[in-house]
């Protein structure tokens, strides 16, 4: 394991499987009377959130607390960021307070990478702009493995076909998932209108299609992405209604999926836009399961990054202050 988790591309297949196997063992904790382990006692985890988030922040907080770490929550609203404090100065403040890990969500792509050069603790990327969200990809992989690949230790996702649908351009979830799922052996296809695909998509380890309907019958997993209207600065499609007609997952489209296929969504959902309510609430939908698996997976990541030896000082990246 590396010292930070910035990108899903940093994870080798062995690293990813170690995280999934660890998560598998931690999953039974949720059924126990005492949902707590003493492993990270005395360690401090800071949740540094510059963007709004419900599930990711709560999920990281629950994960850290179940491992007995101390958790400090920071949200940009109501902090000195409002007075103009820079990310670096905030980071150095956290450093001085002795943070062993910083979980960062930031609107700028690359913020987590920058932060990793300023602090000595581990940095966990909880979403940076339109770049990456590696723990989401890990929990998605964990969910897929449990549902479709028996969940056995050491098993990858070899041969499973995953179709990621919708606003790939603005989605950090899509990028992390493409990288991680292909590392684990899945065949990933992106289905989206051309305007919502990044320019460099040709270099990604996945196939691309503009036609969702032709992809559905051969998909084991359909992952719907939220249409990120808050990041859209131009007109990417004529109307929400037209988008929904062509790329939204409704009951009729769901019926074209193979019997065993599952429907995923990283949340938050726009019901009626990319996913119909009846699909979101169907038995094929793993949306609630993904949230529960998120806590387990993040516990595994925190344990593997913080649970062992502290990294020796020589491994620190060059710090420029």
């Amino acid at each position: 394991m590396k010292r930070h988790l910035i990108s899903a591309a940093d994870l080798s297949r062995a690293d990813a499987l170690l995280i999934l196997d660890t998560a598998e063992e931690l999953a039974s904790l949720a059924d126990r009377p005492i949902k707590k382990l003493p492993t990270l006692r005395g360690r401090t985890v800071v949740n540094l959130f510059y963007e709004d988030s419900t599930r990711t922040r709560i999920s990281f907080e629950a994960a850290a607390k179940r491992l007995s770490a101390d958790v400090i929550n920071f949200s940009a609203k109501g902090s000195s960021v409002g007075k103009g404090e820079s990310l670096k100065d905030t980071a150095l403040t956290l450093e001085a307070m002795g943070a062993d890990a910083v979980v960062i969500r930031h609107g700028a792509s690359g913020a987590a990478h920058r932060l990793a050069g300023w602090v000595q603790g581990s940095v966990l990327n909880a979403g940076d702009g339109t770049h990456e969200h590696p723990t989401q990809a890990l929990l998605d992989a964990f969910t897929i493995r449990r549902r479709l690949a028996s969940g056995a230790r050491g098993a990858g996702l070899d041969g499973l076909r995953v179709t990621i649908v919708g606003d790939v351009l603005h989605s950090r979830v899509a990028r992390s998932n493409v990288l991680l799922l292909s590392t684990l052996g899945a065949e990933v296809t992106l289905a989206a209108p051309p305007t919502l695909l990044p320019h460099a998509v040709g270099s990604w380890p996945c196939a691309v299609s503009y036609d969702l309907d032709s992809e559905l019958p051969k998909s084991d997993v359909v992952m719907m992405l939220r249409v990120q209207q808050e990041r859209m600065t131009a007109a990417y499609f004529p109307s929400v209604r037209e988008y929904s007609r062509r790329y939204g997952l409704d009951a009729a489209r769901m019926a074209r999926l193979p019997e065993h296929a599952i429907v995923m969504h990283p949340g938050p959902m726009n019901r009626g836009v990319e996913i119909a309510a009846e699909v979101a609430d169907s038995v094929r939908s793993t949306i609630v399961e993904q949230v529960a698996n998120g806590v387990t997976t993040r516990m595994a990541v925190l344990y593997l990054l913080l649970g062992g030896t502290e990294f020796p000082a020589t491994e620190f990246p060059a710090v420029t202050r």
Partner: protein, 191 residues
């Protein structure tokens, strides 16, 4: 390593128990468990991964043969409760598998291959504490090699083996290693 340089040795690679002796030791322990727990009614066996788990299964099978009693058998991973986590890189977790019915009110027999410092057993007691409240906890080990660092002793011992701290005891079990044997070496090399 040359035996002459090691004052305690001369037994590098020595086989301490062979397959037959391991079988006899487990048979005796199974009888002792039945005796000490008055028939083994409320007993559950929890193996500590890796090699405690097959040992617990073998004991459960023996008890089944002798008394026609189905003793619940599971595994208890102690990794997250160890006191030496920060001395090593984070390690992979083993499996915790409790028999249905849990541990509340039961006599839990922890099963491990080697008892050494006692720290693994302390971690197991802590782990067990989070899972419920057993009526009693006992400890069965295949080999007790001494050098305790905590006030812990085993209730059932396959073989007491006086050792030097420099020596390493290797327990091999068919379920994990394709053969049954206990050997001792001076430098940690596998037999």
């Amino acid at each position: 390593m040359c035996a002459a340089t090691n004052p305690v040795a001369g037994r590098d690679g020595l086989a301490v128990l062979d397959a037959e002796e391991i079988r006899r030791a487990l048979t005796r322990i199974a009888h002792e468990i039945l005796e000490r727990t008055h028939g083994g009614d409320e007993v559950i066996l929890l193996g500590i991964p890796t090699r405690g788990v097959p040992l617990a299964r073998r004991l459960a099978a023996r008890i089944g043969e002798f008394e026609g009693l189905k003793v619940p058998c599971g595994s208890l991973d102690v990794t997250m409760h160890r006191d030496d986590l920060r001395l090593h890189p984070a390690r992979a977790l083993g499996r915790t598998d409790l028999p249905p019915g849990g541990v509340d009110g039961k006599t839990v027999v922890l099963v491990d291959d080697v008892l050494y410092s006692g720290r693994t057993v302390r971690a197991a007691l802590d782990a067990l504490n989070d899972l419920g409240r057993p009526q009693a906890v006992q400890l069965a080990v295949l080999v007790d090699r001494g050098h305790r660092e905590l006030p812990i002793r085993a209730d059932y011992v396959g073989k007491n083996l006086p050792t030097s701290q420099r020596e390493v005891v290797h327990v091999l079990l068919a379920e994990v290693d394709a053969q049954d044997s206990v050997t001792i070496s001076d430098d940690g090399s596998q037999p």
